[in-house]
Structure formats: C-alpha cells, structure tokens
C-alpha cells in the first residue's frame, strides 16, 4: 500500500522521518527473520518515545516468544511481559544449573582428596607390616644360625647363648620363615599397588581441580549468546521455521559420569 505523499529525493532526510507503517514493517520483518532480537527491541524502546511505542507492539513480542521460547504458552494478553517472565525463568534455571555444576565439581575434588588420604594411611600401614615381617625374619634367621652354631660350637659360653636364642624361638622355624617371606612379598606388592593408585588418584585430583577452576573462572554464559548469522537468515527465509536456539540443558561430561560410578 504505497503512501503517495512521500517524495523520493537524494536529500538529507533522516530515516526517522519515515512513517510509522514502514517502521512497523521494519520491526515486524526484522523480528520474523530473526535479524532483530529482544535486545534490539529493548534498545529501540530506550532510544526515544516513538520507537518505544513502536517496539512495544505485542505482535513483535509474540514472534520473539515463538522463536526464543517455542515450547510454552503461545497466547498472552501481554507478550512482552510474558517474554520477560520466561527470560527471567530461563536465567534462574541457568544460574541454578551452574551452581549445581560447581557443587558437583567441588565434591569430586573433596572425594579425590579423601581417597588420597586413605591411600596414604594404607601405605603407612602396609609399610609397618613390612617392617614387622622383615624384623621377624631377621630374628628367625638369627635363631636358625644359632641352632646351627649350637651343633657345631662347643664352648659353654657360646653354647649357653645359642641355647637361649633357640629356646626363645617357639615356632617351627622353617615354615614360619616361608610364611614371612611370602608376607614380605605380599606387602611389597600391596605397597606398589597403593603407590600406583595414589599416583592415578593424584592425576584425577589435578583434573578435577582444573574443572572446578574453569567453572569458577568462566562467567555464566548467556543463553542467547549468538547473534543471528546470515546463514540463519537464509534458513528463516526458507519454508521451515527453524528453532534457532537449543534448550538450556548442558551436557555433563560423559566421562565424568562414568568415573563417578
């Protein structure tokens, strides 16, 4: 519907002089094709009274609702207010999600640290056990050599001493020595295992601490971060109505999930 009173000259007229109908058209097509976002409408609203009136048009906000929040209420007496509500809701969800992520990351760091402590204790315990076994072995060796010496050496003084040692030893020596040698082996193996696990857990702790640090460092990402690109525009000009923005779900690190179970 052409407006006949417009003169088209190469003069210095400002675009603001265009009649409301054309402005409405610009805003309508702009939002339809996702060239204009909610931020742009708000910026327009804050620029001047006339633009404030034009950008408050409910149909525009209905369009934005359909694009940005496709599943949900479609009809509302005040689409702009509804948009604001949905927006705040999404934001609150994102904040809560972020907090949950943080707590999860923190707990993983705590669990790792605890595991490391337990491993240390186990190592100490096992080390003690090893020491005891080695000590006992040494004693038994002494008793064995003592009993051999007993059969070889005659002098009473020496004999007396050896006899003392042999008498002190109540356990059948050979089998005990065998058992102890095995115990020493087992202890050494355990210690090696614990050390290995300790190193692995230390690495895990490092990873978890890194994950936590990155969460703390990166500010909350905006859901509507991306500005519409040309390719998006092409899509909008096509038949299908693409839902540009995916839902606000975040992806747990699949590996993390597997690790914790």
């Amino acid at each position: 519907m052409p407006i006949s009173h417009l003169r088209v000259v190469g003069g210095g007229e400002s675009m603001a002089m265009l009649p409301d109908e054309i402005w409405a058209h610009i805003l309508e097509i702009g939002t339809d094709s996702a060239s204009l976002t909610y931020r742009d409408l708000c910026a327009l609203a804050m620029a001047s009274r006339r633009l404030s009136r034009l950008s408050a048009e409910p149909a525009l906000w209905s369009t934005l609702l359909a694009i940005d929040f496709p599943d949900g209420e479609k009809v509302s007496p005040s689409p702009k207010a509804l948009y604001q509500t949905r927006f705040k809701l999404e934001k609150a969800k994102r904040v809560a999600l972020q907090r949950a992520k943080m707590l999860f990351a923190q707990s993983k760091v705590a669990v790792s640290r605890k595991r490391l402590q337990e491993l240390k204790l186990s190592l100490v315990r096992e080390g003690d056990r090893l020491k005891a076994a080695v000590e006992e072995l040494r004693n038994l060796e002494r008793a064995r050599t003592a009993s051999v010496a007993l059969n070889v050496w005659q002098p009473d003084v020496v004999r007396g001493r050896q006899k003392q040692i042999v008498e002190q030893c109540t356990v059948p020596i050979e089998s005990r020595v065998c058992a102890l040698k095995m115990e020493v082996q087992v202890c050494k193996q355990q210690i090696a295992n614990f050390n290995k696990t300790y190193e692995e857990e230390k690495k895990k702790l490092g990873k978890h601490k890194q994950a936590l640090a990155s969460l703390e460092y990166h500010p909350l990402q905006s859901h509507f971060n991306s500005t519409p690109s040309d390719s998006n525009k092409r899509k909008r000009l096509e038949l299908s109505s693409d839902s540009k923005l995916s839902s606000a779900a975040f992806e747990w690190d699949e590996q993390e999930k597997a690790e914790s179970f």
Binding site: V8, L27, I29, A43, L51, K233
Partner: protein
C-alpha cells in the same frame, strides 16, 4: 527479447528496460497496462540515482522466483534446470507443479538471497531511499530486502547508537529514564544510561 519500457526519473533521465524488469514494480505494471499509446512512464518522485539502483535490483530479480514463493509453486519456466530443455523434457513434467525438492531452484533462490543481502549492506541513507522507492513503486521483493537491510543496521546497537543512527532526540525526562532503566534491568547485559 521482449518489449521494453521507458522510464523517466524525477530529474529527467530516461531509463529503457525490458518489460520483465520494469514489471517487478506493480505500479509501473499497472501504469503500462492502462497507458497503451505512450510507452514512456514518468516517475517524478524517484530521482535517477535511486532509480538506477532500483533497476539494478529488478534486473537481477527479473527471471527468478520471488523469495517469498514456496518452492512447490515455482513455475518450471523459472527453474534453471528446465531452461531450454523443454524439448527434451516430457510435456507432463513441465506443466505439473514444480517439485518442492528441486535442488536447482533451491540453489538459485539461495544465491539470489545472498546477492540481495549484499545489495542491502549499504549505509542507512541509501536504504532509506530504497525503502521509499520500493514503497512508492510497490516492488515487493525490494521492500522486503530494504526492510531487512534496515533491521540489520539496527541490530546490535545500544540506545545511544540508535539515536545517532537515526538522528533522534532523547525525548525522555530524567525520571522517565530512571524508570526505563529499572524496567529493562532484566536484560543479561543491561544497557548503560
């Protein structure tokens, strides 16, 4: 190839173009229909600089489907694939509705859209004139793209920049300003006063 139409701009320059090009404008089309003796159409409200830009657009769109046309409705004559192969193709194929999935049509339209988007990546002043011309001459596709161009120019600016772009006064009172800031505090990155 066909009849030509003569157009005279507001500053007296004459442009001769093919019918298919000129008839992109519904106004020119209706004027040419009723005016059978005179094939010279005056356009006092459009000056030569703008008119030549408009005609550049129309020339590009002359033998293409409109951006708005659904693919299925594109007549086969406009499909690049069927160009000149009418003899080879079966008669039923060329007369039936064009396939919605015709790859050649899809590519052609997408290429055209790309060209259009580049065409309107110009300063606001030109877009302003294109808007008015498209409105006056009733050229649907140009109107659509000029509007797109305007929307693109608006996008991503804060209120101060928008005022600068369109030469606007900040006609809010200081109290109203405060109200507005509060009203829009829910934005992720609220605009500064």
């Amino acid at each position: 190839m066909g009849k030509t139409i003569k157009l005279i701009s507001g500053d007296g320059e004459m442009f001769e173009v093919e019918e298919a090009v000129a008839f992109q404008s519904n106004i020119i089309k209706s004027l040419a229909d009723e005016d059978n003796a005179d094939d010279c159409i005056p356009l006092p409200r459009v000056d030569s600089q703008i008119l030549s830009k408009v005609l550049e657009f129309c020339r590009k769109h002359a033998n293409s489907p409109s951006v708005h046309t659904k693919f299925a409705a594109i007549p086969s004559e406009l499909c690049p694939k069927h160009d000149g192969s009418a003899a080879g193709a079966s008669s039923s194929e060329s007369s039936s509705a064009h396939s919605e999935t015709c790859r050649a049509c899809y590519d052609a339209v997408m290429k055209l859209v790309q060209w259009d988007l580049e065409f309107v990546k110009v300063d606001l002043d030109l877009i302003h004139h294109l808007l008015k011309a498209a409105n006056y001459l009733d050229i649907e596709d140009l109107m659509f793209m000029a509007v797109e161009g305007a929307a693109n120019a608006i996008r991503g600016n804060n209120p101060e920049e928008i005022r600068k772009l369109f030469d606007l006064e900040n006609d809010f009172t200081p109290e109203e300003e405060k109200e507005i800031l509060k009203e829009y505090s829910w934005l992720d990155d609220p605009f500064e006063p």
